[in-house]
């Protein structure tokens, strides 16, 4: 990137001072203006900033700044990934939690400062790529540069002497060389073919710069694709208990994150029913017992409400594609089936309760809210254990992930659950502040402990609760990202460009021929690389070989090539 930029980098300061000098003002004035900061003017300032921004040095600085700027996102919890953890983190660190928030360190990747870095970097990139693309287009259309006077100054140089009796005059030799180089993929121009010293200039490897430009342009493409995904995509989550059906409408989601330009009409009303979920756990490796080894969800999908159902399997790493979206298996757990009867003996709640996994072996928390219970609303808080064990200290834990000894342990409450006020509540939490406790370990009535099939009556005739059985549930993520295919395409284009720019070599070759006083035809050639090219010496040797073969020149040590070293870079000159 540096070459073209540096070439243009004529200091604007120097320009403006020389301009002042020509206006005919006094010498003193001129000296003053040279000593003080030169006045650039608005335009000059803009040009100066642009030159600075598009300079290689700035681009490199911004690039490294981008790396440094990305790091805090891994040190502090991030809102987009985990908003509740961020809230907790601020609570736990009152001294600096708020300060970090003010610095946008919980939203690093959408923060003003991180955006500033990458936007500047991409502007710098565009400012770098555009002039280079124009320059390269011109270079591709123009002829190879004129033959240097002293080829021997080039990093690779060699000569051949064709005997006088071979009958190859200088003009034929140069045409032969031109043919050979063309075959090798060089663009060739022959000069002065009938003169004393005919020569040719040849160049190849224009694709190197093309690759470079493709790489950098593709990065812009990736960024744009990501932006498209953010604008028009959407994602959401849904928990499905066995037997439940998800319908792709806004009310079908437990949680929904629309893109900036999302419209609800773009949701196709497909459906997916969870028929069965099975989790397998490791039972053979010591030390890894209970580790999950397989999750399989059997689902029935319908493209439209009237379409026939289709049996599909949903697994981790194997999403289901439906109606332009993809559905992913991201979590699972147990959902105990519960029946709650109120104080009047009516069924106030019946169905599965999603137990939120909290610890090892599906140790899960359970919250049941029964607003329909009469005369008093009922609430239950506790935990579910698929394989219940109790220690000597009366601490329950789950000994295995499978349903070997399922148990539901609950405390019960009654009173106003606060659901009628219209304030949204977390279904996984019960605020017991305004409730009266009925059951609990510390109360006379004790806690509720239920095995499947068991029923416990609540004290004070408030009703009863029955543990009917256990179903499984899965967490499904639904994603639609219209930008991701383009991101993939641009990603591969970027790699292709990168490989081209790193492994195609831009080389120039010049050949000059002449007739020696003794009648021999003398050939000299020189090679020059643009940029890094450690194989230039190899190319020189290969050229020498094809020249020698063409003209039947025996290789003698006298005419052996000399090189400055095995690797040559443009820096050497």
């Amino acid at each position: 990137m540096s070459e073209s930029v540096k070439a243009k980098k004529k200091s604007p300061a120097a320009e403006s001072t020389s301009a002042e000098g020509t206006t005919g003002e006094g010498k003193l004035q001129q000296a003053k203006s040279e000593a003080a900061l030169p006045a650039l003017g608005f335009k000059g300032m803009l040009r100066w900033s642009w030159t600075q921004l598009t300079s290689m040095r700035t681009a490199l600085f911004l690039l490294l700044l981008l790396a440094v700027g990305a790091v805090p996102g891994s040190l502090f919890p991030q809102r987009p990934a985990n908003p509740s953890v961020v809230t907790q983190y601020i609570k736990d660190n009152p001294s600096y939690g708020e300060l970090l928030d003010a610095l946008q360190l919980y939203d690093v990747y959408s923060s003003a400062w991180f955006s500033a870095i990458y936007i500047l970097l991409f502007i710098s990139l565009i400012g770098c790529v555009t002039p280079r693309a124009i320059a390269h287009y011109k270079a591709m259309k123009s002829q190879p540069p004129r033959t240097p006077k002293r080829l021997s100054r080039l990093p690779e140089y060699g000569t051949l002497a064709l005997p006088a009796d071979a009958g190859i005059p200088a003009s034929k030799a140069i045409n032969d060389a031109a043919g050979l180089l063309k075959k090798r993929g060089y663009r060739v121009e022959v000069r002065d073919v009938d003169g004393d010293l005919p020569s040719l200039g040849a160049e190849r490897g224009f694709l190197k710069e093309v690759g470079n430009l493709v790489f950098h342009t593709s990065l812009i493409g990736v960024l744009v694709s990501v932006a498209i995904g953010g604008l028009y995509g959407y994602s959401g989550q849904r928990i499905l208990v066995e037997g439940d059906t998800f319908v792709n409408t806004l009310v079908g989601y437990d949680q929904f994150t629309p893109g900036t330009n999302f419209q609800s009409s773009s949701l196709q009303p497909y459906s997916m029913q969870l028929d069965k979920f099975e989790a397998k756990f490791d039972r053979e490796s010591p030390g890894k017992a209970g580790q999950p080894i397989d999750y399989t969800a059997e689902v029935t999908t319908k493209e439209t409400p009237d379409a026939p159902g289709k049996k599909e399997t949903l697994k981790v790493n194997d999403p289901v594609s439906l109606g332009g979206t993809s559905l992913y298996l991201t979590g699972n757990g147990y959902a105990p089936l519960v029946t709650v009867r109120d104080g009047e003996g009516n069924i106030a709640f019946q169905g599965p309760v999603t137990a939120k996994v909290q610890g090892d072996n599906y140790y899960s928390s359970v919250v049941i809210k029964v607003p329909d219970a009469k005369p008093e609303q009922l609430g239950f808080v506790g935990f579910f254990l698929p394989t219940a064990f109790v220690t000597e200290d009366k601490i329950s834990f789950s000994g295995a992930p499978e349903l070997i000894n399922p148990q539901l342990s609950l405390n019960s409450f009654y009173g106003d659950l606060g659901l009628d006020k219209g304030v949204p509540q977390n279904v996984f939490e019960l605020d017991v502040k305004d409730l009266k406790q009925l059951n609990g370990r510390d109360l006379a009535a004790g806690g509720i402990t239920l095995s499947p099939g068991a029923t416990v009556s609540l004290p004070e005739g408030k009703g009863s609760i029955t543990f009917d059985g256990v179903k499984k549930y899965i967490g499904v993520d639904i994603h639609h990202n219209p930008g991701q295919l383009y991101a993939l395409i641009f990603g591969f284009l970027a790699v292709a460009g990168l490989v081209m720019s790193l492994y195609i070599n831009r080389r120039r070759v010049w050949v000059r021929t002449g007739t020696h006083a003794d009648g021999r035809t003398m050939v000299e050639y020189g090679l020059l690389a643009r940029g890094e090219d450690h194989r230039l010496a190899g190319e020189a040797a290969a050229l020498r070989e094809i020249f020698a073969r063409e003209w039947n020149v025996p290789e003698t040590p006298d005419t052996a090539t000399t090189t400055a070293g095995s690797s040559s870079t443009s820096k050497d000159q």
Partner: protein, 355 residues
Amino acid sequence: MPVINETLGQYSELFMLLAAGTYTVAFIAFAWDLAKSSKMLRAVDQKAAASTADHKVTVAAGRVAAGLGGADAGGPAGRAERPTSGLTVEGGTAAGDMKYAGERRAPARVAVALTVLGVLIHGAGVVTRAFGAGRVPWGNMYEFLTTGAFVAVAVFLIVLIRRDLRFLGTFVIGLAIIMLVAASAAFWTPVGHLVPALQSYWLIIHVSIAVLSSALFTLTFAMSVLQLLQSHRQKSLAAGRKDNLGFMRLVPNALSLENLSYRINAIAFIGWTFTLMFGAIWAEKAWGRFWGWDPKEVWTFVIWVVYAGYLHARATRGWTGTRAAWLSIVGYACVIINFTLVNTVFNGLHSYSGL
């Protein structure tokens, strides 16, 4: 689900132990070679210093002009050879082309032989682990480290076929020993099944490229450290100070080290780009989004950016040489952080891949 073979797993651990032992002996041999050969080179240099003039004459004698004099200097008619220029004899460093020279270095030969033996045993350890688990041997941090160390040493030996990089031996083998010890001591995991999230063919593609790139970064890290030492030494020698780093005599000059590590880093960078892209494709399959700024993704991105900066630094005035070497070292430090801290300390989606 393949059956876990614990006996093979135990054999694997035994092989790893034996490999680490063999490497340790190879390491000592490499260190001995550095010390001994440097001493020898110093003696040769001192002798050569006396006859530098003769040497130049010999070089000139080897260049017999084929043409006769009197021709135009700008044309080919009278010249067959370039003027003797650019052929400078560097004092106190090994040949820049890193080709094998004629001299025999017994300790280096012993060291390479031991390394070959070590890598065979190590390879047996990796293969038995793979068969023991019935899958690719890079499903957790223990396996990533042991396999990564194997690939690093294997790549080093492959490069040795073409180039005399034996001066790197102490560093590469030293790092391999550290990796094996860390694997056995800190990250040991019994042979077992993969969790569902890792059961994907992308594990084979994504992680194998990551291991290979990391192995290449390991090589260039060692070379960049040597480059810094050597450039410091060259500067202090040029200033006429005493040579405090005598063992660096065996090491090529800083520029040659920089050029070769650039070439290796270029390959590794392409590998890392693939690691990042295939990781993104896999993330889309497993988690529904191709990029989510998970700590592992953040650090993979940071590494990519740092090495991109390194490649650009080579084309920026004032950033070549020492600064580029530092970038390469910082990049490798990020690779280490990405592997250790990110998997163990930071809370992210890759946390399970460890323990």
